[in-house]
Amino acid sequence: MGLEINQLTRHDGSGSFRVARENDHLSSRQKLRFAAFVLILFVAVPILLGRSPYYITVLTNAAILSFISLGVWVTFSIGRMNLAQGAFALVGGYVVAILTTRYGVSFWLCLPLSGLISAALGALVGWPVLRLKGVYFAMTTLSLTEAIRLLALNGGDITMGATGIVNIPRPGPVGIFGLTIVPEFNGADPLPFYFLACALLVLGLVAVWRLSTSRLGWVFRSLRQNEDLATSIGINVAKYRVIAFGVCCFMGGIGGAFFAAFHQNIYPATYTISDSVNFMLYCFLGGLSYIFGPVVGTFLLVIAFELLHAVQDYQALIYGVLMIVCMLWLPNGMLSLGLRQDGRREGERR
């Protein structure tokens, strides 16, 4: 099975995924780079910037936004342009908001739960919608973002309509046998949120890396290239595309849940169409062929715009220009700049 898919992939003219089977395991260089990235996130940044809540908050945002975009990347890997990620982030946010404020459920239980509920909803909606391809899928998912926003707006007492849900409690302490592992999050210090965001991001990266180098990843790529061909060699196309979409929604839900607790509020307008478009833009800017693409794209854009206060009013305008310029002159994303001539993927470039 693996062999057929492998050959199918090697005949891909685009060259984006010319990864040989033996490359599935991280090379020592890639391991080194990844370790450096983790070290920077967990050691260098807190030491250098730990005293500046502002920068820590910016980086926390960037980390979770790239986590959510990583989900969109997974749907790109099956050849679908997903514009519904904002909807699932909203769902995740509301799950946390409703469960913590109304039923007093712990944030730590809500976090995975919100991912699961988003994924379940994603699978339910995705099953019919994923039959659509190309622009049809993009149109439908764009409408879905709007539909979920309207659902939240008209949710009555459950979602509190336009007033939203505020005063969402911060995550509480976690302990086993009286031993505190995670202390209570307090308002003055954004560092705990930062560490949580980085932990999620690293976990997400490892999970998506494992996924895309496993058999499932090869199946996903075969779907992107030719669904009919994939069906003909016995792949249950419907099942695998729902799995990919579910993974995407799961990550969207987790990200939304994190932001709900981080900002302590959620409104129907927290995630709109422009957020869905941004998630996709981050992926694309970094490079759709690289797992690290969404991370690079998000960090670059988020940090660049936080640092350039002067242009903040024109942020979205610059996004638009940037997207067109990139599309025309750098269609394979930022990471393609560092790609060597032999077309080998450098999975872990920063």
């Binding site: 685009s14 984006s16 790109f76 050849g79 342009m81 909606v125 019919p128 919608v129 039959r131 659509l132 391809k133 190309g134 622009v135 049809y136 993009a138 149109m139 439908t140 764009l142 409408s143 879905l144 709007e146 539909a147 309207l150 659902l151 707006l153 008209n154 669904e227 169409i273 422009s274 478009v277 996709m280 833009l281 694309f284 759709l288 009013d313 024109y314 979205a316 305008l317 996004y319 638009g320 220009v321 997207m323 067109i324 599309m327 025309l328 269609p331 394979n332």
Partner: protein, 286 residues
């Protein structure tokens, strides 16, 4: 009941202009124009400034709309999408570029026009009474103008040389090229025409609903819903989709509070796509 039907007709005719524009671009170039709603919005603003502020004649403003949006559409095709077609490696590229153009137009409008809701003085005054329903003369004018434009467009596409070239291009790009048609030029005119239709719809509806720089996405989504109902790239499908959406909206706004109508439309759409992914009149695919 009669009021709902009257409102439905007015909406449907104007939506048909939007749907025809996006269908034109989609069928000729296989590009989904994500910026269609933004073009609609710019059309509204052109009328707001020329007719509302500078007190020019309404019909002169509409001509200006055609010129402005025609130039925008022509430049998008000539400078962006043509280059893209030559070098695209992934199918998603043209879609991403289209999303980029939508972002660009929307934020340009936001910077230039601001966020305020703008309205224009009525072009004609008076109200007609049909049975128990009221039809303001302004809406009647908008409806008649839209109808004239639709008929004009259909005749143009059917009987002129350029229209024939566009239809040929929609059927088969390579063969059209072989027949000696300047494909790039026709595509650019097609994009300009599609954009102008979106702008005209905006210029007409601004007299009824007003305009603000945030309405772009709303109308893009409406355009998407219409072509998903009718079938993408099919002219009768676009008109049918517009009729369905126009009436559903008119009935929904009458009977249901605010945004619940659209929630139901989206839910219905997803169920509909489950049964008929190619739309009512589209050809089955994939």
């Amino acid at each position: 009941m009669e009021q709902m039907l009257v409102n439905g007709v007015v909406l449907a005719v104007n939506y048909a202009l939007i749907a025809l524009g996006i269908t034109l671009i989609f069928s000729i170039m296989n590009i989904l124009n994500f910026a269609h709603g933004q073009m609609f919005m710019i059309g509204g603003f052109v009328v707001y400034y020329l007719y509302g502020i500078f007190k020019l004649n309404y019909f002169v403003s509409l001509v200006a709309v055609v010129i402005v949006l025609g130039v925008i559409g022509w430049s998008f095709e000539t400078f962006f999408f043509r280059r893209m077609r030559r070098m695209a490696t992934r199918e998603e590229n043209s879609m991403l570029l289209a999303v980029g153009t939508a972002l660009l137009l929307e934020n340009l409008a936001l910077s230039i026009f601001g966020e305020k809701q703008r309205g224009v003085p009525p072009v004609v005054t008076g109200v007609f009474r049909i049975g128990t329903a009221y039809l303001p003369a302004g809406r009647l004018l908008v409806m008649v103008l839209a109808l004239v434009l639709i008929v004009g467009l259909l005749l143009f596409v059917q009987y002129t040389k350029l229209g024939r070239a566009m239809r040929a291009l929609a059927q088969d790009r390579e063969v059209t090229h072989l027949m000696g048609v300047n494909v790039d030029r026709v595509a650019a005119y097609g994009f300009a025409l599609g954009a102008a239709l979106a702008g005209l719809a905006g210029g007409l509806l601004v007299t009824v609903f007003g305009v603000n720089s945030g309405v772009g996405n709303v109308y893009s989504i409406k355009a998407f819903i219409m072509i998903m109902i009718g079938g993408a790239g099919v002219v009768p499908g676009a008109i049918l989709g517009a009729i369905v959406l126009g009436f559903v909206e008119a009935i929904g706004y009458e009977l249901l509070p605010g945004s619940i109508t659209y929630l139901l439309i989206f839910t219905g759409l997803i169920i509909f796509l489950l049964l008929r992914p190619q739309g009512l009149l589209g050809k089955p695919w994939g």
